[in-house]
Symmetry: C2
Subunit: 301 residues, 2 copies
């Protein structure tokens, strides 16, 4: 049943830990985060690789997705599809709020959410609180398709822990965007009730928050927990979906919590985007049958 | 830069060609169809593996997706998400046609599209033309989550070439569903103009067709060609999208060509489904900005 054939597989030593392999002479990133499914990307070039105080940071140039930000060996965003995620996490809340002025982005080191926020002329301050300065630095320098080398005087970069930062603000922001990484390690606390409660306090009396809430297929318990916690804290909660090709299964969810506003504007969406438009803005709230509140969903797999 | 560490990688000899590997003692299916991206699935058990006259056919039990149909080493459908694809390719045309009676499924060996068609009481004949009898046999036997062991007297199984079969029918069907595999090898002809022209002739004067038209991200030229050909042949053409997690990038497209009908029914969708519902049925036609007719899309990558 088992042949003697052995392919040439060698790990690339960059710095420990190793995330790249050379297979039959070709360089591959093998994403190892999931126990039962691996996605491998053929890589043209290692543009940047270094460990920060927090994680291993790489910019890789891939054949199918162009340049990618890779943290601890896991693809975070790519030149090909990073705009989908960033447009969806930013323009939905900023379209529903009728007059956003102060915006906070928690995480979002690729600068995409902050960049999309700059499209709103009424927004006069965007605080971006990212724990890892190196991520911001390399995305601004090496990932222009996502960051557009973000350099807007309204953006205030704060390199700090989002959890601690949130405790310092009260009744201050119109919109808060929680663009966290997966709920492992330190990012776990960005999915907890206490953090969502501090977000509510940091928002103005008509403010709203959006949280990325993971895959509705593979992390249904996380999505449910996020939605449930927001429901406990906000009178209006609306989950929505997008297809983000580089995330496992392609399916991704976001949860919007709002103190007052929920309607989309009557005027059509008019920002320069590649994915989101007026029809998507309205269609993204359509939830498949297995995610409807009265279905068996919510139940963790 | 390259370490001496070599992992234990062995290919499983089942029959040539080999599609399974044992890596560090675990069994994996490594999808090798794409040049620059590979998806690997951890496998519990090889339920069935045999070569037919047309292709290598496997049913594998995987950890994350349950049982999967694998043809020539490429995942076609899984217990976890097969219903998404099958519901989307079937219920959209059968909802838009006000009174479908005769349905033809071309391909669709997993039996899912035929099975969904049986949900319509008005449908009295479903011809299912699949070239490979072995695929139908193993899906009925080993993949009940997708096939529901399809056994409905209205379903007429025809094991034949869909191209030749289509030439024999004129002005006959209300709805034709082209559930083809990827446009490689013999399936290529299912994406050609001549086949679409024969479909038009096989449809009644108010009939409609739906074709799976591949990934809008990775096969944009195929999607564009399908839509363009249908536009040449049908007065009404409407592309629509779904998220199918086991297809590359998760994004999948369908193209609907209709001689007369295009409106969705006023009455709400009422079939027993796990993905599609009334809101999805209306939202699936929302195309992202990069796929709008006046965008740069369509242009092959």
């Amino acid at each position: 049943m088992v042949s003697d054939h052995r392919r040439s597989v060698e790990l690339i030593v960059n710095e420990p830990p190793n995330f790249l392999e050379r297979i039959d002479g070709e360089l591959w990133l093998v994403e190892d985060e999931r126990e039962n499914m691996k996605i491998s990307y053929r890589i043209k070039e290692v543009v940047f690789a270094e460990s920060s105080d927090f994680q291993h940071v790489m910019i890789l140039d891939s054949h199918d997705f162009g340049r990618m930000l890779v943290l601890d060996g896991v693809v975070q965003t790519t030149s090909l599809d990073g705009h989908i995620y960033n447009e969806m996490i930013t323009h939905v809340p900023l379209s529903i709020h009728p007059n956003p002025q102060r915006v906070l982005v928690v995480g979002g080191g690729d600068c995409g959410a902050a960049r999309e926020s700059t499209r709103y002329h009424g927004v006069d301050a965007i605080d971006m609180v990212e724990i890892d300065e190196l991520v911001v630095k390399v995305c601004k320098e090496y990932l222009p398709a996502v960051s557009e080398n973000l350099d807007d005087p309204r953006v205030n970069f704060v390199y700090d822990d989002g959890i601690e930062f949130m405790k310092t603000k009260k009744n201050y922001y119109d919109v808060i965007i929680v663009d966290s990484s997966d709920p492992v390690g330190p990012a776990t606390r960005l999915f907890e009730y206490e953090f969502h409660r501090d977000i509510r306090a940091a928002l103005k009396e008509d403010g709203l928050v959006v949280c990325q809430s993971q895959s509705p297929l593979f992390h249904r318990a996380v999505m449910r927990q996020t939605v449930d916690q927001l429901r406990d804290l906000f009178p209006i909660v609306r989950p929505y979906l997008a297809t983000v090709p580089t995330y496992p299964g392609g399916f991704w969810s976001f949860a919007l919590g709002s103190k007052r506003y929920q309607a989309l504007p009557a005027h059509p969406f008019d920002k320069p985007t590649k994915y989101l438009n007026d029809t998507i803005l309205r269609a993204c709230f359509a939830l498949p049958e297995f995610l409807r509140p009265d279905s068996e969903v919510g139940a963790a797999r």
